[in-house]
Amino acid sequence: MNAAGFPLLSLLTFLPLVGAGIILFIRGEEAVVASNARWTALWTSLITFGLSLILWFQFDKTTADFQFVEQISWMPEFGLGYHMGVDGISVLFVLLSTLLVPVCILASWEAVQSRVREYMIAFLVLETMMVGMFCALDVVMFYIFFEGVLIPMFLIIGIWGGARRVYAAYKLFLYTLLGSLLMLLAMLLLWYEAGTSSIPEIFNLQLDPSVQVWLFLAFLASFAVKVPMWPVHTWLPDAHVEAPTAGSVILAGVLLKMGGYGFLRFSLPLLPQATEWFAPLIFALSVIAVVYTSLVALAQEDMKKLIAYSSVAHMGIVTMGIFTLNHQGLSGAIFQMLSHGIVSGALFLCVGVLYDRVHSREIARYGGVAKIMPSYAMVFMLFTMGSIALPGTAGFPGEFLVIVGAWQANPWVAFGGALGMILGAGYMLYLYRRVVFSRISREDLKALLDLSPREYVTFAPLILLTLWMGIYPSSFLSFFEASVAALVTRHEAAMALPRLAGM
C-alpha cells in the first residue's frame, strides 16, 4: 500500500506542527528568540520539503489510484477515519506547498521584525493545514484542514498586514467561512448517504441528478469563493494588498488552488450530471472573470492589487479548463494552477523586494528600476513573461492546453480565454514598463540595492521551475496524465449511463 514504507504523508503534514511546537518553547531575549524561530522554521520547512521529494521520485505515474495511503480508524461508529493518500491530481500540490513555505520563510527573514515567533508558528501551522488538505481522503478531515487554513491566515493578515489589514482579514475569513459551511452540509449529506466519510468509498455513490444539483451548488459556494470566481472574488484584492509579502505568496500560490482542487476532487467525479448541467454557467463566469478582471487590472495603481486581479483572471482560465471536461482542458487547468502558484507567488515576491526597500506598492512611486537594480529587473521580467504565458515559460503550456480544450467544448469560451491572454500581456507589460523602465522618477530610488544573496536564494527555485515547466512540461504533466484520463473516463461513463437506460 505505502510505497515509502513509513507514513510519509502524515510526516509531511505534521512535521511543521512539531517545528511550531519547538518554536513555542524557545526562551530567551527577543532577538535570540526571533533568530532561533527563523532558523527553526526554515529547517523544519526544508526538511519537510526534502521529505516531500520522495513523492516526486517514488510516485507511480501509471495509475490513477491513491498512493502512499494511510488509514487509521478514528470514530468507527460514524464511519469516520484518518485517511491520507495522494493521486496524480494532488501530489504536485503537496510539493508546491512544501516548496513555497521555505521560500516564504526566507522572504520574511528581514521583512518581519515584530512577533517573529508567532509569525513563524503561524506559517508552520499553515503548512500543516495545506499539506493535510491535499492529502486528506476523508471528507471530515478534508473539511478540517480546508477550514483550519483560515485561522493562521486570518492572523497573518491581521497582525502583520498593511493599513487596512483588519478589514481584509475579516473579509477573507467570513467570505470563506460562509461558503465552506454550505459545503460542510453537502459533505454531511455525502457522509450520511455513503455511511462512511472516506472519499474513495464516497466515489461509489450514484446520486440522483436532483440531489446533485443542490450538492453542486453547495460545493460551488465554497470553491467559487476560494478560487475565487467572479463575482465573489472581491476578498482577494483586499487580502493580497494587506497581507505581508509571504502571506500573499501562500495565498496566491496555494490557497487559491484549494478551490480548483476541490472541483476536481468532489464536483467532477461525484456529480457528473450536475457538472455537465452547470458547465455553461461556470464558463460564463470564467469568461467574465478573465475579461473583466483583466480590464480592472489595467487600471490599478497598486502593484499588488494588479497582480491580485491578474490572479483572478488566471484562475478563471483554470475553472474554464476544469469544466471543459476533456483531457486537454483538465490537464491544462491543473498545469495552470501549478504554474500560477509558482509565477504569481514569485511576482508577489518581486513586489515584496521593492516594498522592503521603499515601503510603497504604488506603481507611480517607481520608474527606471532597471538601471538601479539590473538583476532584479531580469528576475522580474522572467516572471512577468511567465504570467503573460510566453512560450518557454511556465505559464504557456497550461493556458494553451486550456484553450485547446475549451475550443472543443465551445469556441466562444476559447475566444474569451484567448482574449484574456492578450489582455494579460497588456497589463503585465504596462506594469513592467512603468516600474522597471522609463526614467528614474525619484532621486531616492538611486540608492536602492540590487538583490541580496538571500533574495537570490529565495528566487532561485522559482526561476528554475518557471523555466523547467515552460521548456519541458512533460515531467509535470506525466504526473497527472493517468488521473486525468481516469477522471474523463469516469465522467463519460457516468454520462453514458442514463442515456443507455433511456434507450
Partner: protein, 472 residues
C-alpha cells in the same frame, strides 16, 4: 427503597449543611476552607456518581442510568470549575464569604435532582432548589445595584417560569392521571388520541424549561442577568444549570412525551431557529463582553436544540456532545473574563481586552482558541459539537435547521473574530497578572478544546451509552 442511589446528592447536601454549621462559628475568614471542602465534596460526589449502579428509587421518582451519569458529571465539573473561577474574584471584590460555596453546593444538589428526576414532583423540587440558590447567588454582590437588580430580575422571571411549569404539570397530571414519567408515557398511546389538555400542559412545561435554558422567545432575562451578576456567577449560570436544564428537557421530551414528538418537535424547532438567529445577530453590536457572551450562549442553546428538535438518537447524541464541549469551552472563555482586571478594578468591555496578545500572549492564545471553537472552526472542539448536530439535521432531512445553523454560525463568527481582533490587532494596556487558579482552568479547558479531536472516542462512547439508556 433503594436509597443508596441518591448517595451523591446526600453527600453534597450533607456537606453543604455541615459547612454551613461549622463555618459560622470561627471569627476569621472561613471562605477558603469552605471552598476547599466544597471542591472535595464535589469530587467525592463525582466518584460516587461513577460508581453508582443503575436503577430506580423512591417509587420510580428517581432514576440513575448512563444518561444521568453523563449529565451529572458535566454538572459537577461545571460547578467545580465555577467555584475555581469565583474564589479569587470574590476575595478581590470583598465578597469572600463561605455562603457562596454553600449556595453553590445546594444548587448542585438541585441540578442533580433535576437530571435524575423521573417524576413531575421531583422535577419541580430540583428546579426550585436550583433556582432559589441561583437567585441569591445572582445578587451575591449585595452592595452593587446591578447585582441586586440581576437577582431580582432573575427571581421575578424565574418565578413566572416556575408558575408556568406548575400549571403545565397540573394539566399533564389532570389529563394523564400520573405525575410519574413512566405513568405519563403509558397514558399517551398515540399523538392522535392524546387529549388536547395534555398537549397544552406539555407546551407550558416546555416554555418553563425554555426559560431555564434561555431559548428564544424566553431569553429576555439572559443578557441583563448575565451582565449584572458577578462575572464568575455569570460563568456558572452559563454552564452547569444550562446543562442540567437541557438534560431535564431531553428526559421530558424523550421519556413521557415521546409519543407526542410531532407536537414538541415543532416547538423546539422554532426555539432552535429563533435562538440561533437571535444569538448570531444580537451579539454583533454588544460592547459589554458579558452581554456578548449571553447572546452567544443563547445561540449555542439554539445549536444544541437542533439535536433535540430532529428527534433522533443521533441528534440526542450530538446534543450531549455539544453540551459537554460547550461547558468546557465556555468555562475557559469566562476564565478570561474573570481575569479581566486592571489596577484592581474588574472590567467588562470588549475593548478592555485590547493588546492582550502582547501583554499576556498565553491568555490571548487561550481566548483565541475558545472563540474559534465557539465559532465552530475545525479542528477545535466546538467544530465537532456542531458537526454532530448538523449531521443529525442532515440525516433527518431538516434542511431549514441545517442551513440556518450554518448561516448563523458564519454570522456569529464575526463577533467571535472581533474579540480576537481586539486582542491581537489593537493596542492597549496590560491587565493585572492572573491568579494561579485561573491559569489552571485556562490551561485545562484550553487543552481540552484544542486536543479534543485526538480523543473523541471516549466522549462519543459515553454519549452513545447515555442515549441508549435514555431511549432504550
Amino acid at each position: 427503597m433503594n436509597w443508596t442511589l441518591i448517595l451523591p446528592e446526600l453527600v453534597l447536601a450533607v456537606a453543604g449543611l455541615v459547612i454551613l454549621a461549622i463555618a459560622v462559628l470561627p471569627k476569621r475568614d472561613t471562605d477558603f476552607a469552605a471552598s476547599m471542602a466544597t471542591l472535595g465534596a464535589l469530587l467525592l460526589a463525582g466518584v460516587l456518581v461513577v460508581a453508582q449502579p443503575d436503577g430506580e428509587a423512591f417509587l420510580g421518582q428517581y432514576v440513575s442510568d448512563a444518561f444521568t451519569k453523563f449529565m451529572k458529571l458535566l454538572v459537577l465539573a461545571g460547578a467545580a470549575l465555577g467555584l475555581l473561577l469565583a474564589m479569587d474574584w470574590n476575595r478581590k471584590e470583598g465578597l469572600a464569604r463561605f455562603e457562596f460555596a454553600v449556595l453553590l453546593l445546594l444548587s448542585t444538589v438541585g441540578m442533580m435532582v433535576m437530571v435524575s428526576a423521573n417524576d413531575l414532583i421531583a422535577l419541580y423540587l430540583g428546579l426550585e432548589l436550583l433556582s432559589l440558590s441561583l437567585y441569591v447567588i445572582a445578587a451575591f454582590n449585595r452592595d452593587s445595584e446591578r447585582s441586586a437588580e440581576a437577582g431580582l430580575k432573575y427571581f421575578v422571571l424565574g418565578a413566572l417560569a416556575s408558575g408556568l411549569l406548575l400549571y403545565g404539570s397540573s394539566l399533564v397530571y389532570g389529563f394523564s392521571g400520573s405525575t410519574n414519567f413512566d405513568g405519563i408515557a403509558n397514558a399517551i398511546t398515540s399523538s392522535e388520541t392524546a387529549p388536547f389538555g395534555l398537549v397544552i400542559g406539555l407546551v407550558f412545561v416546555l416554555a418553563a424549561l425554555a426559560f431555564k435554558i434561555s431559548a428564544v422567545p424566553f431569553h429576555m432575562w439572559t443578557p441583563d442577568v448575565y451582565e449584572g451578576a458577578p462575572t464568575p456567577v455569570t460563568a456558572f449560570f452559563a454552564t452547569a444549570p444550562k446543562v442540567a436544564a437541557i438534560a431535564l428537557l431531553t428526559r421530558v421530551v424523550a421519556g413521557p412525551f415521546a409519543e407526542l414528538a410531532v407536537q414538541w418537535q415543532q416547538v423546539l424547532l422554532i426555539a432552535s431557529l429563533g435562538s440561533m438567529i437571535l444569538g448570531a445577530l444580537a451579539a454583533i453590536g454588544q460592547r459589554n463582553i458579558k452581554r456578548l457572551m449571553a447572546y452567544s450562549s443563547i445561540g449555542h442553546v439554539g445549536y444544541a436544540l437542533i439535536g433535540l428538535a430532529v428527534g433522533s438518537e443521533l441528534g440526542v447524541r450530538g446534543l450531549l456532545l455539544y453540551m459537554a464541549i460547550y461547558l468546557f469551552t465556555n468555562v475557559g472563555a469566562f476564565a478570561v473574563l474573570v481575569a479581566m482586571r486592571r489596577k484592581g478594578r474588574a472590567l467588562e468591555g470588549v475593548d478592555d481586552l485590547a493588546g492582550l496578545g502582547k501583554s499576556d500572549p498565553a491568555m490571548a492564545l487561550a481566548m483565541t482558541v475558545f472563540m474559534l471553537s465557539m465559532a465552530g472552526i475545525p479542528p477545535l472542539a466546538g467544530f465537532f459539537g456542531k458537526l454532530y448536530v448538523f449531521l443529525a439535521a442532515v440525516q433527518g432531512g431538516y434542511w431549514t435547521l441545517a442551513v440556518v445553523g450554518v448561516l448563523s454560525s458564519a454570522v456569529s463568527a464575526y463577533y467571535y473574530l472581533r474579540i480576537i481582533k481586539v486582542m491581537y490587532f489593537d493596542a492597549g494596556e496590560a491587565l493585572d497578572p492572573r491568579p494561579n487558579s485561573l491559569s489552571i482552568v485556562l490551561a485545562g479547558t484550553g487543552l481540552f478544546t484544542v486536543f479534543f479531536f485526538l480523543f473523541p472516542a471516549p466522549f462519543l462512547a459515553a454519549a452513545q451509552a447515555a442515549v441508549a439508556a435514555l431511549v432504550g
